[in-house]
Amino acid sequence: MKKFSGVSLPQLTEEIVRNARKTRLDAFAVALEGWRRGLKLKWYTKDTPHFDDMIIFGVNPPGRLFSLSSDKKTHFFFRTRGDKVSNRAVEIGSEKGDTKIWLDKAGVPVPQGKGFPEDATDEEIIEYSRTLDYPLVFKPTNASLGNGVVTNLQNEAEFVAALNYVRHELGYKEVIVEQHVSGKEYRLYVVEDQVIAVYNRIPANITGDGKHTIEELIELKNYERRQNARLNSCLIHTDQEIVDFVTEQGYSLDSVLEKGKQLLLREKTNVSSGGDPIDVTDETPNEIKQIAIDAVKAIPGLHHAGVDIIVNEDSKIKQPAVVLEINPTAQIGGALFPLRGKARNIPAAIIDYYFPETKGIDTSDSKIYFDMSTVLEPLEDRTAIEVEVAPAPMGKLYAKRYVVIGDVQRHRYHRWIKKQALDRNLNGFVKNMVFDEIEVIIAGTDKKEVDGFKQVLKQYPQGSKVVKIQEEVWEEPVTVGFEINERYNTSTLRAAQYSLRKMHQELARLTKQKNRIEKDISHVFNSTSWKFSTPIRKVGEIVKGKK
């Protein structure tokens, strides 16, 4: 199976972020970077008073609010946004009209246009539209994720239709009318006077192979997206908008798309509505980067944010690019897990900015992490409002995998191993393999201790009969602490309850995976090309028969 073709950061692999999805991924990536540099990491629920003075929004289940501290100071974070960003800046960023005013005032290029309050009349707005050159854009002032944005309006008839749709059907009364600048959209992530990442967002799209129908191609594309940590929560959903858009281009969902032809499915470029993030940091000219830097500077107290721009392809406008939007709480998953190109380390840049004294600490070969789901468990049902993660071992991590063979299945032996490991400041886990084998992963910064643990494993005082120990270097990531991965410890009710919870978690994960695979298979089977190809048809019939 093909992995997504973007290059992710070595220290932030798919496995490490497995339990951090969507906006939790943003928070996790930043928190992990700080924690790996030796900063103290705490997670909070919404009930904590620490964020009373900071603007936060959304439902925010645990995993979005955290703090990092050194000996001298503490900084609080909401997803990717830290407490150096002023509330005023957040407010300005959330109102597109305000953003524009501030940017314009500082001489940062923005599309010409104007915001209208709730009580503005339709006539007033139409009147204003006549002062601008078509094409125009019509959008709500404060909706997010590209909702209700109507672009490329060619004439007054289309403009009035858009106005009716946004103001009266969707009910967004506060709106903005502005020039449509045609060109490619980019999101830049800026920290102070540096652009850390630039990615191009191509609207949801597919490429024909002369075999599959458009509907099948969308499914195939979704299959690829599922392999990507950021995109697997943002699949392409075939909705009316897509159907219309495809129809407009002279196709239907059942058309077989010709080989090599790229078909856009929407106009919206948001990753969440199926857009592709493609890293273009190195190719982006400095001139464009400077516009984004100036935009962040133009908003007082902002310091770091995502900046959405359009690189101008229209000769009527002089500036090389215009700024569309500023997002102080930007999602960064696209830059961390691009569909193509190189991942950019925005978390490191954010931590550099908040804790410049930790700048020299390189975490690029760090294999240590913490499991989000177990750490956040006490916060999920609000038995706790703050949880501090055990500190990360500092320095290079050595890890070994020992397979211990013999009479080694007793829980007491495993508990003893755990104690020995923790006494020596080692991390890892022990896991049952087969009836006379266990797997022990040992990781620590002291190579001697890690290597010497082989001897320790043989020293169980109650005389467990270790027959043989195999060892090898362990290259996979390791979680902090030490866990006994014993699924079947039912010795006490408490242990049973604990195992039960763990099992339910695993069950949920497996079900999800299974459903996905099932869906993939069913789509492949239903595709025309498949029906005409013969190789493994029997399997297909068996599966079909099952349903």
Binding site: N200, P391, A496, H504, W530, I536
Partner: protein
């Protein structure tokens, strides 16, 4: 002799299940502070021992105190060091003229001959105990002659591996545990040898069974049943009794010799009966140890003469024996300890309407990936509690997730439980306004597939656990659930494997490979 839970403190009647021994002590002191509005945090111990003795801290915003089980930071490290070393403790006690049993300690270098000759010199009966043991480990009492003494010495030094020992005079008397805070005895418990009281009908064996049932209800001794064995039968024989003897109504029959089978003893509260003379000895004992401000003083008391001797001081004792006596009144030691550390909260009303769950704290520290955990503050604004019983189609329709969103937003505490009879119970506490909004929401809204047909509302006056819990439907059948979950996982894994293989086959099929290649090529063209 029936256990009367009314003797226990009413605000501790609803403890979370499965909390016992040291956990109880830790929990109860933390709970007392938390219920007064202090900020409560649990800390993973810097030492690596994995035990139930979690460290916690309480803070009023101005000052913070750390506790390990029942010991707080107003006890100095020096005091802890002295108390964990019996010879040293005795030295300080005798210096301050506190009565202690006559005796002598011997270090690892002393020969057995020397120890034996000392034993003969002070005379029998004697007690032999390790210098650094705790909770009665390795203590052998009532040694009557030189043969027994030699046996005992071999047992303690060779079998149990203690190096240094104490030989002292065996004092015939009752065993008292006296809790001292500051300059006052706040609780005293006599540990009476295991016994039953006759009802004129049942045999001793039947009475033991009943007694064990009662013991199991007691958080302090629920894991310490009285076990019938040879020793017991022999002991009963001495008073011409057997297990099938029917004692007279009101007759107390001791099942063990005093000072033996320490874990089977009954905690009996004697705080009010204890003489001022004995209380003064206990307080004096504590004050003899520099830096010790609250502790348990173990005393041997001859109740006939009224004389008492101090034989141990414990800086980190269990306190639940004072809280859950088998006879007598419960003494609120947690209250005394918190009064001592936070005297300014003495008058703060304790909010007994809430408690917090302790088990997640242990789960969180279990794998050591969590270092510190803060319990939510106890709500300060007045709250009301309601129970809603819902009928309708609420299972497997994401109702729980939907409810979770609303309880988080409205800051409600409580739980949801699907009942066996098909109904669903939701207990919530919150401000009256938020309870109103919650009622509105569950009455007028529901997630897509869910359907509520009927809601019955009742007020609720039992204590509420802070946070919001989704309770399991059958708490008594965890093992069954576990089995079912195991099987389900197995099945799913198999299924997943099958699908994965199928998918792999398809991926490797020619058509797919070809299609994929084209995608890749065109993908390259896309990337501008």
């Amino acid at each position: 002799m029936k256990i009367d839970p009314n003797n226990w403190l009413s605000h501790l009647k609803h403890l979370p299940e499965d909390i016992s021994n040291y956990k109880t002590c830790t929990y109860l002191i933390a709970l007392e502070g938390w219920r007064r509005g202090l900020k409560l945090k649990f800390h993973m111990k810097p030492s690596t021992a994995i035990g139930p003795s979690a460290r916690f801290s309480l803070s009023d915003g101005k000052k913070q105190h750390f506790f390990t089980v029942s010991r707080g930071d107003k006890v100095t490290n020096e005091a802890i060091r002295i108390c964990s070393n019996k010879p040293l403790t005795y030295k300080y006690l005798s210096k301050n003229n506190v009565p202690i049993p006559e005796g002598k300690s011997f270090d690892a270098k002393t020969s057995n001959e020397e120890i034996i000759s000392y034993a003969e010199q002070i005379g029998f009966p004697l007690v032999l105990k390790p210098s650094d043991g705790s909770s009665g480990r390795g203590v052998i009492t009532n040694i009557k002659n030189i043969e027994q003494f030699k046996e005992a010495l071999a047992e303690v030094k060779e079998n149990q591996g203690f190096k240094s020992v104490i030989v002292e005079r065996f004092i015939v008397g009752e065993d008292y545990r006296v809790y001292v805070v500051g300059d006052r005895v706040v609780a005293a418990t006599r540990r009476t040898a295991a016994n039953v009281i006759g009802d004129g009908k049942r045999t001793i064996e039947e009475l033991i069974e009943i007694k064990n049932k009662e013991r199991r209800k007691n958080p302090f001794i629920k894991n310490r049943s009285i076990k019938i064995n040879r020793d017991m039968i022999d002991w009963l024989k001495k008073s011409n009794k057997t297990l099938s003897t029917v004692p007279e109504k009101g007759e107390r029959v001791f099942l063990r010799r005093q000072g033996a089978y320490l874990k089977e003893r009954d905690p009996v509260d004697i705080t009010d009966e204890m003489s001022d003379h004995l209380k003064a000895i206990a307080v004096k004992a504590m004050k003899s140890i520099p830096g010790l401000t609250h502790c348990d003083v173990d005393m041997l008391v001859n109740e006939k003469t009224g004389e008492g001797y101090v034989n141990e001081i414990n800086s980190r004792p269990q306190i639940s024996n004072h809280l859950f006596p088998l006879e007598g009144l419960a003494r609120d030691v947690p209250k005394e300890i918190i009064d001592f550390y936070f005297p300014e909260t003495k008058k703060t009303p304790r909010n007994d309407f809430f408690y917090f769950d302790f088990n997640p704290v242990y789960d969180a520290f279990r794998n050591r990936n969590v270092k510190e955990l803060t319990i939510p503050d106890i709500p300060t604004e007045p709250q009301i509690a309601r129970r809603f019983r819902l009928s309708g189609n609420l299972r497997g329709v994401n109702y729980e997730r939907w409810i979770r969103r609303h309880v988080i937003r409205l800051q409600l505490n409580g739980y949801l439980k699907h009942l066996k009879n098909g109904k669903t119970s939701i207990v919530v506490s919150g401000t009256p306004e938020n309870i109103d909004s919650f009622r509105n929401i569950i009455t007028n809204q529901a997630p897509k597939k869910a359907k509520v047909t009927r809601i019955i509302e009742k007020s609720w006056d039992k204590p509420i656990k802070i946070g919001f819990e989704f309770k399991k439907t059958h708490p008594d059948s965890d093992f069954k659930q576990l089995e079912a979950a195991k099987n389900e996982i197995k099945k799913l894994k198999k299924e997943k494997q099958t699908y994965e293989n199928e998918l792999k086959n398809i991926m490797n099929s020619k058509t797919w490979k070809w299609a994929k290649r084209i995608q890749k090529i065109s993908g390259g063209e896309n990337s501008y």
